[in-house]
Subunit: 327 residues, 2 copies
């Protein structure tokens, strides 16, 4: 049996949405137990009484999406996020899924779940979609604004190990995000990271890549610092919104174009879903002693179900052991 802790108060939706997701996950995986962390008014106790493989972890408070991450983690010691992380560290759960504020979760998990020995800084990774079913692991998505070269090199090793379990790729092609594909490209810090990545043993480092490669490349892993990673992801998000906005403006210009937009709506919705990372249960924190997965704040029963199952799959595939051996 694998036990995954789920934060019932996580995200912007009502706890009932999260509980419905947990119910679906329990139905989908008979080897799954859930430690459901929730406030007394979340309905978590009643839910666990009526579900065999669910145990309630009742906490007195929750951390909102708009609270200051480190401040909230420090002061709200009985919050679902902090208690959930502590339960994972104590071995009461094997992994953690929660929707919500990336900053607060990263801070709490680094502090209370703890790092794999030897890992300098955990990083946030996500599987980005591509055409024809191709996917690329992209990291760091924003946890570490400044990265020393050896940190990026560790990201490359962790990303490679993660791509093996998550994408099922044998010898993942790992590249460094830069301002050109040539070996000589890059800012001074990117060039130093390039040199460090080249020294990592046991990975297939193929050199520099460009921003176009995040969605349109043939790579399995792209690593960068959290500043550049955040800018790239936010730019990607803005571009998708812009193009959808252009189509909406155009759709309102004639009946023909309105019908065209209607016909393509499912495709755009699917693309948006892929870009959100929800298919993989959201983003994953790599470098911690247990898998911690982060879903979007705007969550849904499907997202919670996928995230909980993905956390369980990360446990059963031995993700953390692989990351540990990779460093």
């Amino acid at each position: 049996m694998i036990t995954i802790c789920v934060d019932v108060n996580g995200g912007d939706e009502k706890p009932a949405v999260v509980l419905e997701g947990i119910e679906r996950a329990l139905a989908a995986n008979e080897d799954l137990c859930v430690l459901a962390a929730g406030t007394p008014d979340s309905g978590v106790e009643a839910f666990c009484e009526s579900h065999d493989r669910a145990t309630a972890l009742v906490c007195s408070e929750a951390i909102g999406m708009d609270e200051h991450p480190t401040e909230a983690i420090r002061t709200k010691r009985d919050s679902t996020i902090v208690r959930g992380c502590a339960a994972v560290r104590a071995g009461e759960a094997d992994g953690f899924f929660l929707a919500g504020s990336t900053g607060a979760i990263f801070a709490a998990a680094t502090l209370h779940v703890g790092r794999v020995p030897g890992i300098k800084r955990p990083a946030i990774a996500c599987a980005m979609p591509g055409l024809a079913g191709h996917e690329t692991i992209f990291m760091d998505m924003g946890a570490n604004a400044d990265c020393r070269p050896e940190m990026i090199a560790q990201f490359a090793a962790m990303g490679s190990a993660y791509a093996k379990t998550e994408l099922g790729v044998d010898n993942p092609r790992v590249a460094l995000l830069s301002n050109g594909t040539e070996d000589t490209k890059g800012s001074e810090s990117a060039q130093a990271a390039f040199a460090a990545c080249k020294e990592v043993e046991g990975i297939n480092f193929v050199g520099n890549c460009e921003g176009t490669d995040i969605l349109m490349g043939d790579l399995d892993v792209i690593v960068t610092d959290g500043f550049t990673g955040n800018v790239a992801l936010k730019t990607l998000e803005g571009t998708a919104k812009f193009l959808v906005g252009v189509l909406k403006e155009y759709a309102s210009s004639s009946i023909l174009s309105a019908m065209g937009a209607l016909a393509l709506k499912p495709a755009l919705k699917e693309a948006a879903g892929k870009l959100s990372g929800d298919a993989h249960g959201g983003a994953v924190l790599l470098g911690l002693k247990a898998p911690v997965l982060i879903g979007h704040g705007a969550t849904s029963p499907t997202a919670v179900c996928n995230g909980t199952l993905a956390a369980a799959a990360a446990v059963s595939s031995g993700l953390v052991e692989r990351l540990t051996n990779a460093n």
Copy 2:
């Protein structure tokens, strides 16, 4: 009269495409003279004999899109790019438009047109589209991978001056690209750039912005270093290609969706055109003694015409004088 030098051999298309663009520009602006730089086989001499306001600058060689920028500039002294820049410096032309390799043009223009006194490094700027007609000047697009804080501060001043002439905005809102909007966000170098931008007098610096703001914000100018700028632009390009690819994949799945895609094609084409920057004649090098505009390698008569007219407009609006006074 304003004289704009145009590189007839620039870009991936045949010289005849560029000459057709020059012809259109001459027809559109009666105060325009063109100094057409081309190789003997480009047809530039015959063209200039049959057009009153066109003068040929015959050069023995051209620099290809795939050549190493600084190497080509150094060795090909009689190339259209180098000779065109020299003609601008000598006062034989007031500005320069060329389609082609940004790296080679940036190197040649910095060396042979020369910087405005006091400007540490020229930067490449482009007007990015937004919804409802809003536009944002984005720079540096990739010329300077490493930027000291005072360089970014100069970009902010130049971008503000450019937004006034190009977008017609009175008091442009200038922001620094970062990994969050709060003042405390940013890598160490972004935080140093933030402090330097705050000290710039005579501009309306509103603080940090995110990647989403490039296309979906309400800002007039966004500044960043050339490394981050290149990653953002390439990510934007990749995202647009990805979404068009998703729609294509979907369009081939049924007749209804194929018709939908067909109905929306004009909107996507228009959006792609806006994203390419061709409406403004391409990207502009700011910080040089004369306006130098760069069009896409895959050029067209319309792009050459717009670029040539935009260069003339930059001269007549006193862009360089404004940039000089801004620093």
